[in-house]
């Protein structure tokens, strides 16, 4: 598909799909009555949730896209560096210690700080072990993630049942907890991360050839790789802080986007962001509609919908694909 056609198609379909998300609620499909206070409040809630879904989806997809390039691993996703383990532990600590009940910002702040601290520790270890070699980073991330999950289980084993339930619900991913101040903070952080990553799009292209080849092409790999890791983690941690753990978006959307616009990250990053945002908004609409008025965690929908869709995309061989 030519880029111009793609742009026109996106210009038409993206607002339509977002409108579908906005008009969908657990009470059904349709515009709330704006002449009443309840209707206006409902629309306000839905708008906040729609934007949250879009920003979280975009952040996860962009983060996955960047990590797949730096780690040169098709299975890399935003949680590969232990962000999910760190974020979950941070959230669990906030809930278990009762700090989460003091202010609504305590839970997302705890998850965010723990996720960023996890990245810092992983970068320090990986730098000492192998200078940001992809396999070192992945192994360090897997080990750190497993250790953090064990610590989470330890915290939960001492926690009250209500806390265990809250942590489990948070880990399944949910977009209903967003508030406007928190959303604006997350939008700011994700925008900053996206800008940093877009600035390094050419570096990501070069990194596909390998770290040494990229260095030969003029990329300051010792600076650029930690910068990309930090920006990708910043986006994912901001998303985790507002929505909990939502899987699959960061893994599949970059692959689907790559099928559409190719491997050039100057195009791939923005297309992944829009694709991830729209995908999560639609998944959230389904999460509210499928068993309405009961709402299911959006993470369940992303996995159930995204998995088969991804497999279909993979099996549809394009003419230029290698055998």
């Amino acid at each position: 598909m030519k880029l111009r056609h793609l742009f026109v198609a996106a210009l038409v379909t993206v607002p339509l799909l977002l409108a579908v998300g906005l008009l969908t609620g657990s009470a059904g499909f349709g515009c709330p009555d704006l002449s009443t206070t309840t209707g206006r409040a409902l629309l306000d809630l839905r708008l906040c949730r729609l934007l949250t879904g879009f920003v979280v989806g975009a952040a996860l997809a962009v983060s996955g896209c960047a990590l797949q390039a730096v780690l040169r691993n098709a299975l890399a996703e935003p949680y590969v560096l232990g962000i999910s383990g760190g974020g979950s532990l941070g959230a669990a600590l906030m809930l278990a210690t009762g700090l989460a009940s003091l202010t609504p910002l305590a839970l997302p702040a705890g998850a965010f700080v723990a996720a960023i601290l996890t990245l810092l520790v992983i970068c320090l270890i990986a730098r000492r072990a192998g200078g940001f070699a992809p396999h070192t980073l992945i192994l360090t991330g897997v080990v750190a993630g497993t250790m953090l999950s064990s610590l989470l289980l330890l915290v939960l084993s001492f926690a009250r049942l209500r806390v265990v339930h809250s942590v489990t619900w948070w880990m399944m991913g949910n977009l209903s907890g967003a508030t406007w101040p928190l959303l604006f903070t997350v939008i700011g952080l994700v925008s900053l991360a996206c800008l940093l990553l877009q600035a390094e799009a050419r570096a990501m292209n070069a990194l596909l050839l390998g770290h040494e080849a990229a260095s030969n092409l003029g990329i300051r790999t010792q600076h650029v790789i930690p910068l990309i890791l930090t920006a990708a983690t910043l986006a994912a941690a901001a998303a985790v802080s507002i929505s909990g753990i939502i899987g699959f978006v960061g893994l599949i959307i970059p692959h689907v986007a790559r099928r559409i616009v190719g491997v050039d990250h100057r195009r791939l990053l923005p297309v992944s962001a829009i694709g991830g945002g729209v995908f999560l908004v639609l998944c959230d609409a389904l999460a509210r509609l499928l068993f309405a008025p009961h709402e299911i965690p959006v993470g369940v929908v992303t996995a159930l919908l995204g998995g088969p869709f991804f497999l279909i995309v993979l099996t549809q061989k394009k003419p230029h694909d290698p055998a």
């Binding site: 570096a203 292209n205 390998g210 080849a213 030969n216 003029g218 190719g262 491997v263 050039d264 290698p322």
Partner: protein, 255 residues
């Protein structure tokens, strides 16, 4: 242009370059030969600053380890031994990667960038492949594109690590003639790792033969490609004889 003085390097405890000294002048074309593990690729990595070494390493008077990567990329380009072949770049996008150090951070390549990439593709006869995807191509076509990528930045030095391994006979000769032309017309310095010694003797006036991280011989093909020297370097009996009507020396390992 390239100066190495008493250079030693190691991977962990294994020494790969041992007190090696070498001087390559501006615009010179030098072939680097030796058995597997003799230190050829390691020598290229020392010159690009990727393998730390003791002793003195200078490229155009500067220590490559201390050169900013962008400046280093403009000074020298590398054609690697292995290229990841599974990345579906189009041929033209792949060649444009060679100009990464010169491209703006945001925005499209300029007319000068496009012109440099086209020129590099025409020189390597890959212009007709520009719309094709990299993984669809043969090993030889990919190797020519890797050379085009290196040339697109218009470097002063080109380091090539066995660039003819996937090329057919005609394209081997074409590549050698191209390197000869680049040296003569643009003063580009070429250092190429070569396993095809017969081909190297035809197109290089100087061959550096490495053995166990040291220079065993550094001279004209006629003085380096001698059976006794080659037997020491490769550990097997070798016949070497001049081919009539050509400057080439035919090198054949004996069973």
């Amino acid at each position: 242009m390239i100066l190495l003085d008493k250079v030693s390097a190691a991977y962990g405890t294994r020494t790969v370059l041992d007190n090696l000294s070498l001087h390559i002048r501006w615009g010179e074309r030098v072939a680097l030969a030796g058995a597997n593990g003799a230190g050829k690729s390691s020598l290229l990595r020392v010159i690009t600053g990727h393998l730390p070494a003791t002793g003195t390493v200078r490229v155009d008077g500067q220590n490559p380890c201390r050169l900013p990567p962008r400046r280093r990329a403009r000074l020298m380009a590398v054609v690697p031994q292995e290229i990841p072949t599974d990345i579906p770049f189009s041929a033209s996008d792949f060649v444009m990667l060679g100009r990464t150090a010169l491209l703006p951070r945001f925005g499209a390549p300029t007319a000068a960038d496009l012109q440099a990439a086209e020129e590099a593709m025409r020189l390597t006869e890959t212009w007709d492949l520009r719309m094709r995807r990299f993984p669809e191509m043969s090993g030889g076509e990919q190797q020519r594109l890797a050379l085009a990528m290196a040339l697109s930045s218009r470097p002063e030095v080109i380091l090539l690590d066995e660039p003819t391994s996937h090329l057919d006979l005609r394209h081997r000769i074409d590549l050698m003639r191209l390197l000869e032309r680049l040296c003569k017309e643009r003063g580009i310095t070429v250092l190429m790792v070569a396993h095809d010694l017969t081909l190297a003797s035809q197109f290089f006036s100087r061959i550096v033969l490495l053995h166990q991280g040291r220079i065993l011989s550094d001279d004209t093909p006629a003085n380096v490609l001698r059976p006794d020297i080659l037997q020491t370097a490769y550990g097997c009996p070798v016949s070497a004889f001049p081919l009539p009507d050509t400057p080439a020396i035919c090198v054949i390992p004996r069973a």
